[in-house]
């Protein structure tokens, strides 16, 4: 018990509280910092880049979460079926997850890269587009590359969780219903999906929290660009803290992020438990 709490206290709890004090101070990291009260927070609410970065993170959370969760479900349903190749789907879905973020972002950057990536040349050959698509020059397309790369990378994680959920459904339910003449489609609708409700509630929460922390994909793929249009909050925190060395300001933003994650998780938990759905986390 003691060793864990020592580490936990020193490297989680202490920074957690020290961060509050840091966010109340001005000046640069490593220099004497004067107490400025809530000035950092006040400045934050007037900073249009803060709103933009926060908006970008929210955009990513709300667009990517349904896609990654739904595809995870489809992959799980398919790989849990008895068709040929179903087992391979499970492995194929999961394989990218073990690659590191640097590898997957680099694969996708070079895939999308105009003139030297293979995607554009095939799109042109198939007649989908007339000329080279400049994926990283326009915000919606840049977002698309980030979301595609993220989905490809992490869908396997949700697939595994869904498969675990599928395997907890008793076989008797399916056997009994097929004796009653239920079709596969009816079984999916009335047995499988309702039984997965608890697992789904949890997967969505895990996915939302993971998506709020988005940093590496935009940082490595688009650098937050074009301009700052794909820069998420964590990247802005990083730039304020480690490029401008404005520790107080970066800490204040960290606390806004933490606050939002906690509020979202809390609200989500309330909504789903009132729904009579799963237990949440």
């Amino acid at each position: 018990m003691l060793p864990f709490m020592l580490m936990y206290g020193l490297f989680t709890l202490y920074p957690l509280f020290n961060g509050i004090f840091m966010s109340l101070r001005g000046g640069r990291l490593g220099r004497p910092q004067e107490f400025v009260g809530l000035a950092n927070y006040a400045a934050l609410f007037k900073d249009s880049y803060f709103y933009e970065a926060f908006g970008n993170t929210f955009l990513f959370v709300f667009v990517s979460t349904p896609i990654i969760v739904l595809l995870g479900l489809v992959f799980a349903l398919v790989s849990n079926s008895k068709h040929r190749g179903a087992k391979v789907v499970k492995i194929a879905a999961f394989l990218p997850y073990i690659l590191s973020i640097s590898v997957i972002t680099s694969i996708w950057v070079y895939t999308f890269k105009p003139y030297i990536g293979f995607l554009n040349s095939y799109l042109i050959r198939l007649g989908v587009v007339g000329d080279q698509v400049l994926w990283f020059d326009r915000a919606p397309l840049a977002w698309a590359t980030i979301i595609i790369a993220t989905t490809w990378w992490t869908v396997g994680f949700n697939t595994i969780l869904f498969i675990a959920g599928l395997q907890e459904i008793p076989d008797e339910l399916y056997e009994a219903s097929s004796i009653d003449g239920a079709t596969k489609w009816q079984q999916l609708k009335y047995i499988t999906l309702p039984s997965l409700k608890g697992v789904t509630v949890m997967i969505v929460l895990l996915q939302i929290i993971a998506s709020f922390k988005i940093f590496g994909q935009p940082f490595l793929m688009t650098g937050g660009g074009p301009g700052t249009s794909t820069r998420p909050l964590v990247q802005y925190i990083y730039e304020k803290g480690f490029k401008d060395w404005n520790a107080g300001y970066a800490s204040a933003m960290s606390y806004m992020l933490l606050l939002v994650i906690i509020v979202v998780a809390f609200v989500y938990n309330k909504v789903t438990s009132n729904d009579g759905g799963g237990k949440g986390a």
Partner: protein
Amino acid sequence: MMEVEKVRKMKNIKPGTVVIPVLIWIMIAIMLIPMVWMLLVSFKPYESNVTDFMVMLTTKFTMENFLKILDTSRMGRWIFNSFLIAAVQSLVGILLASLAAFALSVIEFKGKKVVFFIILAGLMVPVEALIMPLFSLIISLDWMNTYAGLIMPGLAMPLAVIIFKQFYDGVPRELIEAANMDGAHIFWVWRKIFLPLSGNTTAALMIFLFIQSWNNFLWPMLVGTDSSMMTLTVALPVFQSTFSTDVTMPMTANVIASVPALIVFLVFQKQIVKGIAMTGIK
């Protein structure tokens, strides 16, 4: 009635027998093509055109890129760093979590509920939100570019404690009572009863944590700024950015960087899957 049933069945067989097999191959293709491309490109001569699969398959293959990278870059050092950090974090992290969970599950002490709540709350705190204060702590400890600075902050993992506690709560109490009667030390109970019982859980969780640590990016980037202290995830983008028009060298670096993780995956596939499924059990 039978006829109706038959017709209905035939109708419903169709999507299952045609659509799903096709879907299966599309899914597999989408997931694997980027990786196949990476692998193919890595064997192509420097600065060659890599936009056409057919051309790539029918032209010259070479090992030059691999030899050049292993010869001129510090790839070995970066792999070593990543491996060391991931191994220590998963091993020591598991040990700390197991002991903490054992205490929470078996030993009665004051403030136990509060401690458990504080650990539970830690699930909500991502390292991304702690980078500033954590970094200033590392500075004041003078741990920049040291293994201590890279490893220590990742040792206390609330999620692992909670998974272990759930498992330990299910262990029959009679086992402990029997051991107590024999005068066994509480540490002995953990070592000889709880740790072996949770063997599968421990292995699965450890491999899962290993992969997580292996893939960490933000923290190693902040603390390991010196080229000799970089992990693979941090060094790779730096290395790749030195090539502007060539794709073969960056992809070769990706392949080399992925081999250790792929080996771990192929050997421990079952445990990895189990480890992930566990993070979902509440």
